[in-house]
Amino acid sequence: MPTIKGFTGAGIFTIAALATAAAQAQELKIGIMAVLSGPQAVLGGQLRDGFNLGIKHAGGKLGGLATTVIVQDDELKPDVAVGKARQLIERDKVDFVVGPVFSNILLAIQRPITEANVFLISPNAGPSPLAGKSCNPFFFNTSYQNDQPPEVLGKFAQDKGFKKAFLLAPNYQAGKDMIGGFKKHFKGEIADEVYTPLGQLDFAAELARIAAAKPDAFFVFMPGGMGVNLVKQYRQAGLDRIPFLSVFTVDESTLPAQQDAAVGFFSGMTWAPNTDTPANMKFVADFEREYGYVPGSYAMQAYDAAQLIDSAVKAVGGKLADKAAMRAALRKADFPSVRGAFKFNSNGFPIQDFYLVKVAKRPDGKFQTEIVQKVFSSYADSHAADCPLK
């Protein structure tokens, strides 16, 4: 059957031609998964902008390869996120997925992505299962393990000698985890531990209880709009003489709304916009010029994720298919993190320093967190021991 033979020959020729073309113009495809709608969209926006700046600083080519970014909005819904993760893998055939902001989304998309042997870099979420027993060779985290930021405040409160603390958090899992993290190092008296309904916006009743309990320190986890309200009302109620220790309550995503009300309030983080490294100075200055707002940790960690991918793709000479070599290169974390010293633990989570940071008003009238003191040095999370990876 000559016709059929002819067809087959042509087919083989076409495939060969395509393969050559692909080798000549090799492309790096990265999927970004972040919440870009709803009340938390500000955080997803920071993530996306931080990552894009990282690509820009690499001349538009991460690891020397032409880089395409496909942005997906996870809508903060795990089912939506899984669907979009599958699209990124099957339709767009991405080499990396970077995201998301929230831990519940990460736990949902982690399996479909890593099971397809695609690398997943989390620039923010760091839930404990992925740091411990369910750690994964295709997963890396460029932020911190979720337990660690509240531990910074607990340690600080303990070292400072505060006798009595009042704790406040929303009534859901993350709220309880944050309170647990604080109590890990704080051994003083807990005046009270109050959980409010998620989404509560008026804290007048809780503030009166704080005043009645007369604590030496106040520890709170109130993300997003809840934190904006709490900070304003805390200041209005004149409770600001009680040290305000917090996580994810006063940061660059909420400060534009909190403004002066948050000045002097404490938080725990691995970095602040005034971290004194040359890489960070360049990052912050270029970020503000490009996007017109002060970057927060969400942007910083995404920027580092871009640097991480850049370093690894370079190290393997652009051979994206060699997953083992790529993993080894990622594991080395051979890039100048803007926060300073940074290396990966066996579970793919960072070993890094943690700082007490404080809100300040800059001379130009904008607000940012600033480093006060180092609380932990080269601090690894406590779950790595449960991770079977080496």
């Binding site: 709608s37 709803g38 009340p39 969209a41 500000v42 926006g45 009534n171 109590k183 051994k187 003083g188 008296e189 807990i190 005046a191 009270d192 531990e193 109050v194 959980y195 409010t196 309904p197 989404g199 916006l201 008026d202 007048a204 009743a205 809780e206 503030l207 009166a208 209880r209 005043a211 009645a212 309990a213 007369k214 997003g224 709009g225 904006v228 309200n229 304003k232 009302q233 209005q236 109620a237 004149g238 409770l239 995503s253 909420t254 534009p256 709304a257 909190q258 403004q259």
Partner: protein, 318 residues
């Protein structure tokens, strides 16, 4: 770590008084939102889930006018007619076509309006929460209890809300339009049959309700952050209020709003401590917050069991 078992100083009299004020303030805000809702529901038999959006818009409009004028009072005054105009525009464009439909369709359509406007607000003003300062004249505070300054502004909210309640009471009981509104709440078809332009009456009620909700939004802008979706939560509470108070009844809405505000606040502040008297502290800490957020719904269930039409049903509806 020691748990404090003695609830003595966490349940002191000054704290109780402060919490009563907090409850009153929440109640007054709820009343402003619920007043419009109960009238619209009572007079037009129209379920408007988008009423919470009016509250959100009031806050956004106030912030916008504040940025333009720099004056708190001017911005609140401007936000009132603007909220009303917006409410009327929604009425003419969308809601008017739903009055004859059944409740399920109204719920669906007005829910769509919520989604649309929450997203619309984000496109216009951005997703980040906005901020509006307390005016200087109201920025002081009163030391009601040791260590706590009670902002004068919160008293101003209570006062403004009570003033509106009185004005509304006079309006509904002593004016001709008020009489028609009451008549409409009792039997709208009959009012129409007697030659009253019911469409115009509906528009007045609707615009007025939107303005009251907008006023509530403008008043909370300095103490709460102004953000998309801020109206969704208060809407649920407002529905609880009008069901407890009796649909269509301003007086019922007022009493029920204060009741819900005070009970919710006291529950949130004292439930855990009260449970601690009978339960282990750790158990109380788990059950307390859960039970506290249930109290108003328990109240609603009890009221409905005893008086199915609410505490003060509009005459003729019960």
């Amino acid at each position: 770590m020691c748990e404090r078992a003695d609830p003595g100083d966490t349940m002191s009299t000054p704290l109780f008084v402060v919490q009563l004020f907090n409850g009153l303030q929440l109640g007054v805000l709820l009343f402003l939102v619920a007043a419009g809702l109960t009238l619209v529901f009572g007079v037009m038999d129209f379920i408007n889930l988008a009423h919470g959006v009016q509250y959100m818009l009031g806050a956004y409009l106030a912030v916008t006018f504040y940025r333009l004028t720099g004056s708190f009072f001017a911005s609140v005054l401007l936000a009132l007619p603007a909220s009303m105009v917006f409410g009327l525009a929604l009425e003419v464009a969308i809601f008017r076509h739903l009055y004859e439909r059944d409740h399920l369709e109204q719920v669906l359509a007005t829910f769509g309006v919520i989604l649309f406007l929450n997203q619309g607000v984000k496109i216009v003003w951005g997703a980040a929460p906005l901020n509006m300062p307390i005016p200087d004249i109201l920025s002081g505070s009163i030391p009601l209890m040791e260590g706590l300054r009670y902002p004068v502004y919160r008293f101003a909210i209570i006062a403004a809300g009570l003033a509106v309640a009185v004005a509304l009471y006079v309006f509904v009981t002593a004016t001709r339009v008020g009489m028609l509104v009451r008549a409409g709440a009792t039997n709208a078809p009959m009012v129409s049959a007697l030659g009253v332009d019911i469409k115009r009456l509906f528009m007045i009620v609707f615009g007025f309700g939107a303005m009251l909700a907008g006023f509530a939004g403008a008043m909370v802008a300095p103490i709460l952050s102004v953000e998309p979706g801020m109206g969704d939560q208060i809407l649920i509470l407002a529905f609880v209020v009008i069901v407890i108070g009796g649909i269509g009844s301003i007086r019922g809405a007022f009493i029920a709003a204060l009741l819900v505000g005070v009970i919710d606040t006291l529950g949130r502040s004292f439930m855990t401590d009260m449970l601690r008297l009978v339960l282990a502290p750790s158990t109380a800490r788990v059950i307390g917050p859960a039970l506290a957020s249930m109290t108003i719904y328990l109240l609603m269930a009890i009221v409905l069991a005893v008086r199915p039409a609410g505490l003060f049903p509009a005459k003729g509806r019960a």
